[in-house]
Symmetry: C2
Amino acid sequence: MLYTELKQINTKRENLRWNAWGSLDSDFFYADKIGSLLTYVRHRLHLAEAITPSLRITDLRLPETRIKGANLSALQKIVGKNRVKNDLRERVLHSAGKSYFDVLRIRSNLLKSYTDAVIYPETENEIAKILKLAAQRDWAVIPFGGGSSVVGGVEAKAAGKKAVLTIDITRMNRLINVNSVNQTATFEAGIYGPDLETALGKHGYTLGHFPQSFEYSTLGGWVAARSAGQQSNRYGKIEDVIAALRMVTPRGLFETTHFPAGATGPDLNQVICGSEGTLGIITSVTVKIHPLPQERHYCGFLFPSFKAGLDFIRHANQTEFTFSTLRLSDEEETNQLQSFSRIINHKPDASLIARSRKFVKSSVENILLQANGLAGPKCIVVAGSDGEHSRSAIAALKKAAPQFKGMFAGTSVGKNWLKGRFNMPFLRNYLLEYGLGVDTMETAVPYDKCIEVHRAVLEAMEKQMPNSLRMCHASHSYHDGACLYFTIMFPIDSHAPVDQWLRLKNAVSDAILAHGGNISHHHGVGADHREHFKRQVGPVAWETLTALKKSLDPRGSLNPSKLMA
Amino acid sequence: MLYTELKQINTKRENLRWNAWGSLDSDFFYADKIGSLLTYVRHRLHLAEAITPSLRITDLRLPETRIKGANLSALQKIVGKNRVKNDLRERVLHSAGKSYFDVLRIRSNLLKSYTDAVIYPETENEIAKILKLAAQRDWAVIPFGGGSSVVGGVEAKAAGKKAVLTIDITRMNRLINVNSVNQTATFEAGIYGPDLETALGKHGYTLGHFPQSFEYSTLGGWVAARSAGQQSNRYGKIEDVIAALRMVTPRGLFETTHFPAGATGPDLNQVICGSEGTLGIITSVTVKIHPLPQERHYCGFLFPSFKAGLDFIRHANQTEFTFSTLRLSDEEETNQLQSFSRIINHKPDASLIARSRKFVKSSVENILLQANGLAGPKCIVVAGSDGEHSRSAIAALKKAAPQFKGMFAGTSVGKNWLKGRFNMPFLRNYLLEYGLGVDTMETAVPYDKCIEVHRAVLEAMEKQMPNSLRMCHASHSYHDGACLYFTIMFPIDSHAPVDQWLRLKNAVSDAILAHGGNISHHHGVGADHREHFKRQVGPVAWETLTALKKSLDPRGSLNPSKLMA
């Protein structure tokens, strides 16, 4: 029962932070060390102290809602009065996602467009009626699950429509069925990650899908945005686990049936998966599930270079073992992780015994590193395997590491990573309060282009923001390539923060496409990647996607200005 | 170097049989036993001897070609005189696929429509010009690889167009690139199976894709029709191995780029895969490849019932081991395989020593079967695993079998199956000469519906053709379900053979859909499954597919009356 230890989150709307990541009852695990962390980052970036607090929500100046009077009544007639909202807090919460760009704008009243109302349907029939009304009134409709998009996927863009209506589907959150013969389960799409895993755990199963947003994102959102989880090496990306789904479109219900495989034309599940709310609203999903693994082994390895580490994870993917996680940090990220870890673990009040244990351990580690020629810059790999063969899988890695000049770095690395894996976004909440921006960009790249894309993106970042911390890890890896996940930490240009970000984003996206990566491995396209996505697929595919859109949403109501919409 | 032992086939057009499966230089391995096999089948079906020879090709009455004069010259101008054909043999060879229905009609001059000309492009540029000309002249265009479709996928249907032009792409058959870092390879789409494996084998790799049609089908055909191979449990169906592809459409080149994964909208590879020549002509495919396995273990198991065998293969798929092949025959098919095997292996001139060895072996087998309660009806499983873990994978199966009342049945079953796996279609060539029809139908079904679909299809077959041999095997299996593959052998109604087949086909397709199967797991949709496919996907998806078609082929030139076209 390994995955049921997950923290249950209160995701009620009143408990969500409108101007930061997460919910009010959750925080950065090391909030008490923020001072030291800030000192460290300022030191690295040669910065003076700065304070950049968020506005209060009541300071925000929203345009008056365009959905009122008869329009509001029409919506209320469909779902009842209590499930249509247009108060300030609901509108703010539902007008953007959770990217740096989103949070930056929303906390400073820089967001240009707000949703006019939020509706909470509970049935497909209600959604169908809402879509019909929206088409009649020429409104934009924005499907909303956890709202954790970091690519502008839920942004309240009106795109010339007369109003923006957000459809929040999180009241559609039931487990419909667990089928232990087929090892599948059907859920309503609005269920949050922890609720889904808890429901499956009671039956002895897991979906095994753990994106970093896990606690604040929904099954429907994962499917709409082609999400990846931190154990996707083993369980597959979300597109690999879909057995069937239902989507309400302006043209009617688009439903696929569960077949284990097929030779019946284009794969319709793979057309809907990744459609990001532009083709319809996903209402339920049947997914493949797995018995909860009874064993798991997570550990660390160190390599002298990113190249050596990449060769190692490529080797691991091209052997016969299955790994759940293979996460390789480059030199700079490894360095940052070590620095952060030192700050976080520095406990002035720790007992002498604990401190001396730590000292002995770190001395031994240093001697081992020296002996292995790893005293200089080095790259850490977090490797994990779940299930019956996990011990032998990790043993095979240990055996292989020296071929790549790597060394085993113990199991605590793995345990710590598992513990903190959903928590890092909370650090951003604090950095933003102190003038520091942090953003992440990612791409999937064939192995033979990884080094080039790694170099090109870091160079593009440096060119835009010479005074920044820039780092990367390979977050997911496959038979034929990996996802490179970049993080940049920088002083916010408080005079032109939006332009500063747009220049950075554009430069990075250009570099990714120019060197053979795609515009996203798991964040999605949304509004932020739309133009680069168009370049990525080329004119013929673009026309095809547009035709697809037009066939299901002829009035163009759904999520305008996202993906191909 | 296991897969390079494959037989090289001469697939030159003059060497292909126009009225039967395969090439002139290949035959049923046991052609010398045909007399005994026929006697056995006649006995089972209470039939008298009958002879139903094919017409000679010169007896066929084809309508005069509509592509001549200026039309012919225009095509010749694109590719040169030698690569446009409209002689009798070329037209006949390219007017239908290789299903029972196709061969039945073609050998008896019952085919209603013939292609008017066949063109052999060598470049994408030539294809683009051909498509442009065809649109101008309002011709139907039929993409053709190996022509081994068994669902009418290459049939020369004019569908109201002014002529039918078949584009045979088998001259586009080069290996373009092997990338050993990414473990991918790029081929032109017209390459035949054995040529592809031979080319990869020289580099130490395999694609691992072995449909029964392997010797007579092409990579482009596999991708267009969502093919499955006999080792797809391990290597994936063809849709799982596509890294990128190129397709020439009437609207221009549709090209995807190789990314190991992505969150960039609908999966375009999965839109093209299965498009069956209705959206464009696939010209090259980048596929994932694997080092040739150094070990493989294939063997047999026996189970007291189809249900017990299904539970066993389900168990195998839901464990942590990977199997290449898990093929479960039902009682009747096991019985037929044993009868056929007895006939084939009966060698009156065999040496005494060999005969006595066989006798001893079969006695021992019988004693074991009795001891295991398997003397009555029983079901055989062919199980195979390739690669480093194959021995332990099979050992795990041996250990698990008794839980399902099964027993290990030795390795010769596996070896014999591997040896004869591409050869069975040649038996049909003989049966057709002697008044006997044989057809196969297949579907993918979730595990919990397998028994019901098995029963329903066999009942539908029996109702249509009480005097027939009806049998089934689970040919492919997955985490969540299996492919059920049915075979029926029956006396041809020589007065109305087409109606006889249409009634059978319709009844079986109805039964499949009514009980939860899809209309095909790996044969495809083509012309034969079009109406049932339409029912399977429902009206909203159908409209979407039609919109997709219209966006890439606005004139409707490509493969009309197939799939959604």
